[in-house]
Amino acid sequence: MLKIFSYAIFLYLLLPMLVIVVFSVDGGNYFKVSDFEFSFKWYSQLYSDPMWFNGIVTSFKIGITTVVCCILLSIPTALWLNKYKNGVILSIIISPIIIPSIIIGLGWVFFFNDIGFTNSFVNVVIAHTVLCVPYVVLMTLSSLNNYDQNVEKSAKLCGANSLQILKDIQLPIMLPGLLTGSSLAFITSFDEFIVALLLLDHSTQTLPIVMWSYVTDIISPSVLSVSVIITLVYAVLIGIGRLNQKHV
């Protein structure tokens, strides 16, 4: 009984992915299984249509910039939190995971509007950094879990300055967490829709925004081919994260 139920749920979880993959290589009539026709024409459209191409490039740009900001912010934060275990600060930092992103996005819209700062690219990166930084901090903290403060002290006694300690002791320990966190952060930024929609500008037509515009009227099958590519990118990123966790 439990088994049948679980298999039904597995089917429920797998079916949509299957639909995406099947219809993304269907060059025939719009979404009819009866006249299936194998072709890659929707994939090639991603390359030829400038809107798709721009969306992909913009999303990568925003995602990578966000990840760099997240890493720079997370290193000191994680080290500090690891030293002075502070539950309140940690909760504040991870709150963007739990609080609906529309609230955070709305706050940024008002803030940027009030101070009159209208560089949309920078605005989106700042807002995305707030949304993504929790993942990097959490993952880095978990790699620092068995970090021995005495190692740091003995290095100091041996005459290492703080930069050397950071480079030779702390960074290698944090690296797996940083990588896993970064891949999660990139995925979050890449998939983020609401904040990008609120701060929208011609320079920030990210992939989800482009997808949205192809979905709202009639669903263009190229949305499905882009979904497959996104899934592959995510799988690679998550794979990188997993691989790193295993080695340590």
Partner: protein
């Protein structure tokens, strides 16, 4: 003073028959006072109201800046508007739908997580991978595939479609905390209770279930909070009916440009989120200090 001003902005911003509305408003004593007041800050106000809609002053952003400034900082008018019937209904509906979705998720997640813990190591890895599969694809494509799946059954633009799509997206989030809690259940205790003569139901009720309560609580808070923030799924599968608060907020920001109302709705949403977040914090960080 500011209690009269929202009326004027309302008439002026909504276009259409605003001239008529403003003239009607002029006949009333209180708006004459409002205009006199505004005239101190923007000297063309009086002649604008006298000459009507053709006066260039109506196009002057400075005038609207004055009105915005007068209304903005000190009033609860936005909350009053948010508290009006329509928006209260939207907020209530969001929480109702989110609660139903959370309960459905929980009802699926609990037995599923139990099944996952019973599997052998390789099988359980594969099964866990299947559970997490929705997280591997973008939010939009997950919803799009449901459009394709539901269209043949004529389920599009119904509440059922919202349930199916949202449960699909929220399920991994609700399974994981329960699964983690079940992994840590002390199996020796279960053996002890069976030896002590408890039947299966009693063992579940008094030994197994209490050890998973924390996981359930985590699952509920996480799922509920993320579901209240959904925008893409309800608006694509539900046919843009504006069922969820998020849809209303985005509508207010993008089309009606009523930022005050948008933030009032967001603050109401935020207060519930913070409350739930506090619950989440208490479950996970407090009383756990010896762990």
């Amino acid at each position: 003073m500011e209690q009269y001003l929202p009326n004027i902005t309302h008439y002026a911003k909504n276009g259409g028959d605003r001239l008529e509305a403003i003239q009607k408003d002029l006949a009333r004593e209180d708006s004459r006072r409002a205009i006199t007041y505004l005239n101190h800050h923007y000297h063309k106000t009086r002649s604008m109201f006298r000459k009507g809609i053709d006066h260039p002053g109506w196009q002057d952003p400075k005038f609207w800046a004055v009105i915005e400034k007068e209304i903005k900082p000190y009033t609860f008018a936005n909350f009053q508007r948010a508290a009006n019937d329509l928006y209260l209904k939207v907020i209530g509906r969001t929480y109702l739908l989110s609660a139903i979705i959370t309960i459905i998720c929980l009802a699926i997640a609990y037995p599923l997580a139990y099944y996952l813990t019973k599997l052998k190591s390789t099988a359980s890895k594969i099964a866990l991978f299947i559970v997490l599969i929705p997280l591997f694809s973008s939010f939009l494509s997950r919803t799009v595939s449901w459009i394709l799946l539901l269209q043949p059954f004529d389920l599009m633009n119904t509440i059922t479609a919202i349930y199916i799509g949202s449960v699909y997206i929220a399920l991994p989030l609700s399974v994981l905390p329960i699964y983690l809690a079940m992994k840590n259940v002390d199996t020796d205790l279960i053996k002890v209770s069976t030896i002590a003569g408890a039947n299966k139901l009693q063992t579940f009720r008094f030994v197994y279930f209490p050890q998973t309560v924390k996981g359930i609580a985590n699952s509920i808070t996480l799922t509920f909070m993320s579901v209240t923030g959904y925008y893409i799924t309800p608006s694509l599968l539900g046919g843009s009916k504006g069922l969820f608060v998020t849809e209303q907020i985005i509508r207010q920001v993008q089309y009606t440009l009523n930022w005050g109302l948008a933030s009032a709705l967001a603050v109401i949403m935020l207060s519930t989120s913070l409350l739930l977040f506090y619950v989440y914090y208490r479950i996970n960080f407090k009383g756990d200090s010896n762990a």
